[in-house]
Amino acid sequence: MSLKRKDLLSLAPLSVDEIRLILETADSFKEVTGREIKKVPALRGRTVVNLFFEPSTRTRTSFELAAKRLSADVINFSPSSSSVVKGETLLDTARNIEAMQADIIVLRHSSAGAAETLARGVKSSVINAGDGWHEHPTQALLDLYTIRERGLSFDGLRVAIVGDVAHSRVARSNIQALTKLGAQVRLVGPPTMMPCGVEKLGVRVFYDLDEALQGAQVIMMLRLQLERQGRALFPTIREYARLYGLTAERVKIAEPGAIVMHPGPINRGVEIAPEVADSLSSVILDQVANGVAVRMGILYLMSGAN
């Protein structure tokens, strides 16, 4: 079994076996990240380029650390400091990076499909680190890893994804992967933040949080993008927090021992109460720690010779 793919753009085309291979590979790297010397020579001489057109601390740092712990050389590109401000197109930027012998390009972009466009245009492997509202596959994979690490099995697993589903690439990638693995996915949020026809992906839609939380084993909170507040998707932040914010009382509605996840950065007191974010049921920091191991696994699997 191996990952016979040039790029990782979306979780939609991945088979269950491929997803499991990635998670099992990440197990080996989790052991490496627990060592005193957290570095292995597997990607020596390879070059990984982080091409981030949107601000990101967590994901970029996570990829950078993952690549460095595999002994790859890492270059970080961000638009403010590059020729993008001079009007260069995405593909031209990428071709220039490729001409410098980059083996893997990690792309974060505000337009859906940017990673796909890039992948068609360059010979290097492309990993989608978030493209618009489309997908964020490595985030979903690290979420799956964290769920599995807690001893939960995906078959029949009751997962509630809460918040602004429509504008969330994290939600979209998780829906793809979780339904594929046999989980029962429930989406909860205000109607203005629920994409039309999302039921076609094999999920159930709720508008009442308390109802959706009943029996949930995993509560996956999405970040409320406060910058969208001006677009009339919800009246006030206070109302949103009252209807869709996860409080300690609401966690009690879910299955005992349910875990609380959040892709970060969290808005304390908006979508998640501080006492929930810091509680024992919260695995938010495990998600961050596992992100490095999972991305090491993905970089390793995608680093086969071209």
């Binding site: 079994m1 191996s2 990952l3 016979k4 291979l21 099992e24 590979t25 197990d27 080996s28 790297f29 052991e31 490496v32 060592r35 005193e36 010397i37 570095k39 292995v40 020579p41 597997a42 990607l43 020596r44 001489g45 390879r46 696994g297 390793y300 699997l301 680093s303 086969g304 010779a305």
Partner: protein
């Protein structure tokens, strides 16, 4: 080699390890996945029978240290490394089933040193088939098996659901 030959070779190696290191003090065994892990466990049991002490043992996956990763089209499946003790200042006996080019052992030594600084690394193998490509030699050898480079040596073990035996497959 049949099951009896393998059993006798392992018993002799266990005695040799104890003789050379004057007992079990500071001793630990690390098997190289997959065959070496099974053989390391068997050696631990034999040392337990002789000395009454269970020496620490671990499992090493050398995949990430291979020297051909950059050349392969598809990356090999990783398995877990588990060395649940501090190897620093210990005498580590690496255990593998077949010693051939020596490249696996080079990778294993690099992998081991990333986990700490052992006092000494020794090497125990069930079969030494020759054709070294690196200046490496075993400290303990079950059997020297002259082979041609094209032949394949396969060690089959009960732990894999086979009868214990070593066979040479002609090219």
């Amino acid at each position: 080699m049949d099951a009896g030959d393998i059993a006798r070779a392992l018993t002799r190696i266990a005695h040799e390890i104890l003789e050379r290191n004057k007992g079990v003090h500071g001793l630990a065994l690390v098997g190289i996945r997959t065959g070496g892990v099974y053989l390391a466990h068997r050696l631990v049991r034999r040392i337990q029978d002789i000395e009454g002490v269970t020496v620490p043992s671990g499992e090493l996956d050398i995949t990430l240290y291979r020297d051909d990763l950059a050349l392969r089209k598809e990356q090999p499946v990783l398995r877990r490394t588990s060395v649940p003790f501090d190897i620093s200042e210990k005498i580590i006996v690496l255990v593998d089933d077949v010693l051939f080019t020596g490249r696996t052992i080079r990778a294993a030594m690099d992998g081991l040193i990333d986990l700490g600084r052992p006092a000494e690394i020794q090497l125990a193998v069930l079969v030494d088939r020759g054709h070294r490509q690196l200046p490496i030699r075993a400290s303990y050898i079950g059997k020297n098996l002259p082979t041609s480079r094209e032949e394949k040596v396969q060690v089959m073990l009960e732990e894999d659901g086979e009868d214990d035996r070593v066979v040479i497959l002609k090219a």
